[in-house]
Amino acid sequence: MARTGGLATIAAALLVAMPAPGADLDALERPLREAWAQRARLVEERTRRMGEAAALADEIARRKDGSRSAPRADRGLEDALKRFDRVAGQLDEVDRKIADRERAIATLRRRFEEAASAEASRLSGRAKAGSVGRVARELDAIDQARRRVAGLGASEPAFRPVLEVSRSPDDGATEIRQKLLLLEAERDRVMNGIEQADADARVLSARILVKRRLAAELETAARTAGSELELLRREAENAAEALHDLDAQRETSSRHKAALVAALAQVERRLDELRAALGQLALPKGDVR
């Protein structure tokens, strides 16, 4: 009798522990959400560290220009690079962690999609056997979960495209002034963006300089030591690839800046047009110049 009671307890515990429909998806969504949150924190940290690195990068850029002719400036550059090396190492570490999170996110996302598809197929099969209303609710819950997952990361801070503001034929002075204010705010935003892109480019250039020296040192070491030492070879290859990735980042950053400069020119043109239109409206009627 006692044995029967024990089995019943185990069965009850198993029933309670048995996941409800959609519990698998919940279990997959939670770590995905957490991974995105971790990534967002890392991206914030990266932005903060980029800001810290900017001052040193400025100094390196100045000394680099000076070192082409003066040996003393060369030593100054060396000292600045040594100081920057620590910051660059921290940025490398954050980049590595971001890459790690992105990889985890990709894996979790794939698992979630597979589980959602499997669950949807299972529910579709059940719908044929009856209980359509319940199945419809559960399918809806899956769709909602899919939308939530698709929305993760969509709120990433990115540079919003510049607003297209131009004069309409029926704009009066008030509307034009409002548009001017709006465009001036956009111009300031774009100029800040360009400034930020410049600062990022300087940090990237300094990181590339430091990484290039490291890659050269590792390559030389790997060659001097010979093929016996495997870790040197791998580290040299990793450094060369990281250098290439930084170069690609610089290329992307450069394209981003070019787009911002073009946007700024467009905003300036629109501002000129609106100011001219406002000037014409301010003229007394019949005054022809």
Partner: protein, 396 residues
């Protein structure tokens, strides 16, 4: 049959990068950078440089050496190809001592998927000495390696390799060796890396064939002030098949061909000087295991290797290399009867240090010295060898 691994490497880079490319940057144009080397050398030794007691000829010392090198490469979004050719004339003004060394390397690598990397390397070297054919040889080493790693630095890799060397006048010292291995690697702390690996090697030579197991571990630290690495490797023979009809007493106890070590010395010196040649200071790696005592099949061997490198200011780099080695086992070049092939032991210490100083954008000073000392319970294998070289590299 010698496979054209160089061709394979070119094809590898030409494979389209595919949809996984994350950085669609266009490939860089081909880059070529030639160099001229002018080196003086000192060579003092008590060994038999040509591996046979029949020729007791020493190397010229001091001697002049003139070398020409060219480095080339190209980088794509997900792959790169790099290579080098190097030619050196040793004692170019002394007819009897004049010899020519040629070496070339090619490496192609390609990233695939998330964290995958495929690398093909091929290296060759050839030596000709018009007045002394016995020193002629060529060697080739090719490796195909696939690795997968996570951003954290953990990963694993597999590789296959083919090494072979031919000595037309000393057929016994030639061999071919194929190997397959795998390894795991992982970070140790913030600046450390470690690797554990194992490899199976199969060899075939004139007097014997067989296989051996190689197990190794490596630890390295990459700090802001320098690089240090330590590796311990154990070679364990697993099967050896002697071909008694091909063994000979002529080579005595000599199992090594010291002249290969000399060629390697100059090759290392020259290639070390070629850094920064192509692709933004990045060059290629040494796929050749060009030890002069590579013919040690059938012997148990333990090798401890250490390397340190440090940048001494913006223009100067110094490095030091240490190799300690203990071997025990028979010499499979000798006949089984009489007891010529009985097990014997020998120990070796090899030291190499190098200094490179960039005088200007085009001119660098090179300095390298190496010392090898061998002890053995067979007197013919007791020897030392000192090589030193000093010179300049001029880039064009």
């Amino acid at each position: 049959m010698k496979v054209s691994y160089a061709g394979l490497a070119v094809v590898l880079l030409a494979v389209p990068t595919g949809v996984l490319a994350q950085t669609p940057t266009p490939p860089t144009p081909w880059q070529f950078e030639p160099s001229l080397y002018v080196l003086g050398s000192i060579d003092e030794s008590s060994d038999l440089p040509f591996g046979t007691p029949a020729l007791n000829i020493g190397e010229a010392s001091p001697a002049a050496n003139v070398g020409l090198g060219i480095d080339f490469g190209r980088q794509g979004a997900r792959g790169r190809l790099r290579g080098s050719l190097f030619a050196l004339a040793r004692s170019p003004f002394e007819g009897g001592d004049r010899s020519f060394l040629g070496a070339g390397r090619l490496e192609a690598s390609k990233r695939f998927g998330a964290g995958g990397r495929l690398t093909v390397t091929d290296g060759f070297k050839v030596q000709l000495r018009p007045q002394l054919d016995v020193s002629d040889y060529w060697a080739n080493a090719a490796t195909l390696r696939v690795e997968w790693s996570r951003p954290s630095g953990r990963g694993f890799g597999v590789q296959i390799a083919d090494n072979r060397r031919t000595l037309p006048e000393l057929d016994l010292l030639g061999f071919s060796r194929q190997s397959a291995g795998l390894g795991i690697f992982f970070p140790v702390g913030a600046r450390g890396r470690a690797e554990l690996g194992t490899e199976v090697q199969h060899y075939s030579a004139t007097t014997a064939s067989g296989s051996r197991l190689v197990m190794g571990g490596e630890l390295a630290a990459f700090t802001r002030t320098g690089i240090a690495t330590l590796r311990l490797v154990w070679f364990e023979p697993t099967a050896d098949h002697l071909r008694p009809e091909r063994t000979t007493k002529e080579t005595g106890d000599q199992v090594e061909f010291g002249d290969i070590g000399r060629a390697e010395f100059f090759e290392t010196l020259a290639l070390q000087g070629s850094y920064g040649a192509v692709l933004g200071d990045a060059f290629f790696l040494d796929p050749l295991e060009s030890d002069s005592d590579e013919w040690d099949f059938g012997r148990r061997k333990q090798v401890l290797t250490a390397f340190v490198s440090r940048r001494l200011g913006p223009r100067t780099t110094a490095s030091g290399f240490l190799r300690l080695q203990h071997k025990r086992g028979p010499n499979l070049l000798l006949p089984t009867v009489p007891a010529g092939s009985a097990s014997f032991a020998d120990d070796r210490v090899a030291l190499r240090s190098a200094l490179r100083h960039q005088l200007s954008q085009r001119v660098s000073l090179l300095l390298q010295g190496s010392y090898v000392k061998n002890w053995s319970d067979r007197p013919s294998l007791d020897f030392y060898r000192f090589l030193g070289a000093f010179g300049v590299q001029i880039r064009f």
